[in-house]
């Protein structure tokens, strides 16, 4: 087992190195959008665009031979130096340090909600197939995986932010229910106002992952729904929830945990761009969007690598957890 853990750690390092090298290679091979923008700006001021492009590249050391740049890049990264962000006018690490808290504010609640709700509905409906709850559950699952989250966010804004402000139900104004549509950064992190303005982003982000957690957990639990140990537990008079939590969840948790990390990361990362763009939250997704529109290559590269690092670490933790959780797994030959 130690041998397996050691090999898994080594593989994580190799994967990190490959991902960084690939990103570097792509950036090196592609035309530099920042240099293009500099050249275009010079051309509009009647100066020689080629000279400006050269200046741009020289000032960033991009005219040096590829291997020198590569070694430089790798040593900088190893020291956690991602370069300087021109659009934010501060080092990339500082820009990321400012932004991540805004992403985490809706990220963490979404993950907790999607796991809690997704697993409980999924497990429950597996043991109570063809009931109203089961049908309701699969309706929610289809709804969640099919609805485009950007459209869902817009419809929510339309209803909660626009319609509720003027509508009334049985003579009672619904204005109290209407929420802020755009994020206000001046509120403190742990205040009621902040929690209220995060409700919509959390709902939008959680919908998609609730649905996928629900599908996986239902499929897993179905495998054990008729297992002997479940029948025994029921025969002994255990309640449905006890059967689910103490018996089914315990065995289902191992495969579920393997899907959880990678799947959640994928759903949430793509979602974070959209949510931060729509609700104007100044988090990592918006940082990346700004970096792209303002041709800020250092920042683009850094914000590209963060999800990759997280995914690699997530994979690593997941594989190690798998070995610890399930003693039956044979890790000898891989």
């Amino acid at each position: 087992m130690r041998w397996y853990v050691a090999r898994r750690l080594a593989w994580a390092l190799v994967a990190t190195w490959l991902a960084v090298t690939l990103t570097f290679g792509v950036l090196l091979a592609a035309p530099n959008p920042g240099a293009d923008a500099a050249a275009a700006q010079c051309a509009s001021q009647d100066r020689d665009p080629e000279q400006c492009r050269q200046q741009y590249l020289e000032s960033r050391g991009l005219d040096r031979p590829a291997h020198v740049q590569y070694i430089d890049y790798m040593t900088d990264l190893a020291a956690l130096d991602f370069g300087y962000s021109e659009s934010q006018e501060e080092p990339v690490t500082a820009a990321i340090a400012d932004a991540w808290i805004y992403s985490a504010q809706y990220f963490v609640p979404s993950i907790i909600i999607s796991v809690l709700i997704g697993y409980s509905i999924g497990l429950y409906s597996a043991l109570n197939r063809y009931t109203l709850t089961d049908y309701l559950g699969s309706f929610v699952a289809y709804f969640g995986i099919s609805i485009p989250n950007f459209w869902f966010a817009i419809v929510l804004i339309l209803v909660v932010g626009v319609y509720f402000r003027e509508a009334s139900l049985l003579g009672v104004s619904l204005d109290a229910l209407s929420l802020r549509t755009y994020y206000e950064t001046s509120y403190g992190v742990f205040t009621v106002e902040n929690a209220k303005q995060l409700i919509m982003p959390v709902i939008v982000l959680a919908t998609a992952s609730v649905a996928s957690q629900m599908r996986y957990s239902r499929a897993q639990a179905l495998e054990y729904a008729n297992a002997d140990f479940v029948k025994t537990a029921r025969a002994k008079g255990a309640s449905t929830w006890r059967v689910l939590v103490a018996h089914v969840l315990r065995v289902a948790l191992v495969p579920l945990s393997t899907i959880l990390i990678v799947d959640i990361l994928a759903v949430l990362f793509a979602g974070s761009f959209i949510i931060e763009a729509i609700f104007q939250i100044p988090g990592l997704g918006r940082l990346q969007l700004e970096a792209i529109t303002q041709k800020d290559t250092d920042l683009v590269a850094a914000v590209t690598l963060i999800p990759v690092f997280l995914a690699i670490v997530g994979n690593l933790i997941q594989d190690l957890a798998y070995v610890l959780l399930d003693p039956r797994i044979d890790y000898g030959d891989r």
């Binding site: 593989w11 994967a15 490959l18 991902a19 690939l22 990103t23 792509v26 950036l27 592609a30 035309p31 959008p33 197939r129 289809y142 709804f143 995986i145 099919s146 609805i147 485009p148 989250n149 950007f150 459209w151 817009i154 419809v155 804004i157 339309l158 626009v162 499929a219 179905l222 990678v262 990361l265 994928a266 990362f269 793509a270 761009f273 959209i274 763009a277 729509i278 990346q288 969007l289 792209i292 529109t293 683009v300 590269a301 590209t304 999800p307 990759v308 995914a311 690699i312 994979n315």
Partner: protein
């Protein structure tokens, strides 16, 4: 072929194939080869003879994506429609299974109508930019009423007076192009990689699956953003990237399925009879994992469609196309005065994705007797 040397008995002969046999090569294969030859000739004509910027036929300048789309539709004709039409008994059986799920049948009908509109619609309805008329901007849909509402633009108009229905029709074309082309690419690569990894095993398996691991850690969406940032957005690039970087799930699925198949008697028998490894993979492994592949294919289409729409929504889509995502984004700023611009195309997108998910799940239940997702 070694397996043919057995004496044939009446019931062991596949009579459909014998009937279609014209001296060794099936008729369908000949027709398919000729069709693709014609397709290649047309493609060469467009790229070698027709001058840049001139329409290919009449006033239709066929783009690279449209060429790919035609190729994918032809492939679908020869490898889905023709086999289904030729083996009526199995088709009827599958249909009986599929029909049990009424929602899926309705979804299939809806998708069929959309496909026809998407393919033929642009020939009937003018391009959205030709309907620009600022006098008619923000006209509400006909069922809302209002001064500007008219049958001419029954679903309303956007900020530039473009007819919403035309935007939707051209959006159907984009969504189907993305979904079908990217799916075909991803499924082909994924199936080959998965089957080869499972059958050859050893180092081949290790290298291929490690690559799959790496590809999986690189979120496709992030990679797409990076590459679009560097090379600029075009529908062709987006489709290609989704196809080339979206197959790791299929490869894993096919590999685990194929691992079981390689152990089965027919694979062993073919090997013992002297079949080459490639032959076993092509003739025995891949056909026997096809039910997994078909389900994975159907369920991957909505993912690609949603991905492209999300990219377009963020403003990284192809500026020359009328993607639903772009229309939804454009209507976002007028959400409190003209809600229909964002919501109606969004509803189409939602229903399309939902329909593909319904059909995919029903297909799995119909053609894969082992699955019990029910």
């Amino acid at each position: 072929m070694a397996t043919d040397s057995r004496p044939d008995t009446f019931d062991s002969v596949d009579w459909d194939r014998v009937e279609a046999d014209t001296g060794g090569v099936p008729v369908v294969a000949v027709v398919e080869a000729l069709t693709f030859l014609a397709f290649g000739a047309a493609l060469a004509y467009d790229y070698l003879i027709v001058p840049e910027g001139e329409p290919t036929v009449l006033d239709w300048d066929v783009t690279a994506v449209e060429w790919l789309f035609v190729a994918v539709l032809l492939l679908g004709l020869f490898h889905v429609v023709v086999p289904l039409a030729r083996s009526r008994r199995m088709t009827a059986y599958y249909w009986r299974q599929f029909r049990k799920n009424r929602l899926a049948v309705a979804s299939l009908g809806y998708l069929g109508v959309l496909l026809v509109i998407g393919v033929l619609g642009p020939a009937i309805w003018a391009a959205p930019n030709e309907t620009i008329s600022y006098a008619e901007a923000y006209a509400p849909p006909i069922f809302i009423g209002g001064d500007l509402a008219s049958l001419d633009h029954a679903l309303g108009t956007d900020a530039q007076g473009r007819h919403l229905w035309h935007l939707i029709v051209y959006g159907i074309r984009v969504s189907f192009e993305v979904g079908l082309i990217a799916m075909t690419l991803a499924i082909t690569i994924g199936t080959i990689v998965g089957a080869v990894a499972a059958y050859f095993g050893g180092y081949v398996d290790e290298v291929l699956m490690r690559y799959v691991d790496i590809q999986q850690t690189f979120p496709v969406f992030i990679l797409l953003l990076l590459l679009i940032y560097l090379y600029g957005a075009s529908l062709f690039l987006i489709i290609l990237l989704y196809g080339v970087f979206g197959w790791e799930g299929t490869a894993r699925l096919v590999r685990s399925e194929a691992l079981q198949r390689t152990e089965e008697a027919y694979s062993r028998a073919a090997e013992a009879a002297g079949a080459s490894k490639l032959w076993v993979v092509r003739r025995h492994i891949i056909p026997n994992v096809s039910s997994t592949v078909i389900t994975a294919a159907t369920l991957s289409i909505p993912v690609f469609i949603l991905g492209e729409a999300a990219l377009s929504f963020l403003g990284f889509g192809d500026p020359g196309t009328f993607s639903w995502g772009r229309t939804i984004n454009a209507g976002r700023s007028d959400i409190d005065s003209a809600w229909w611009i964002s919501t109606i195309p969004g509803l189409f997108l939602f229903l399309t994705v939902l329909a593909f998910n319904f059909v995919g799940d029903a297909l799995r239940d119909a053609i894969d007797p082992r699955s019990d997702s029910g």
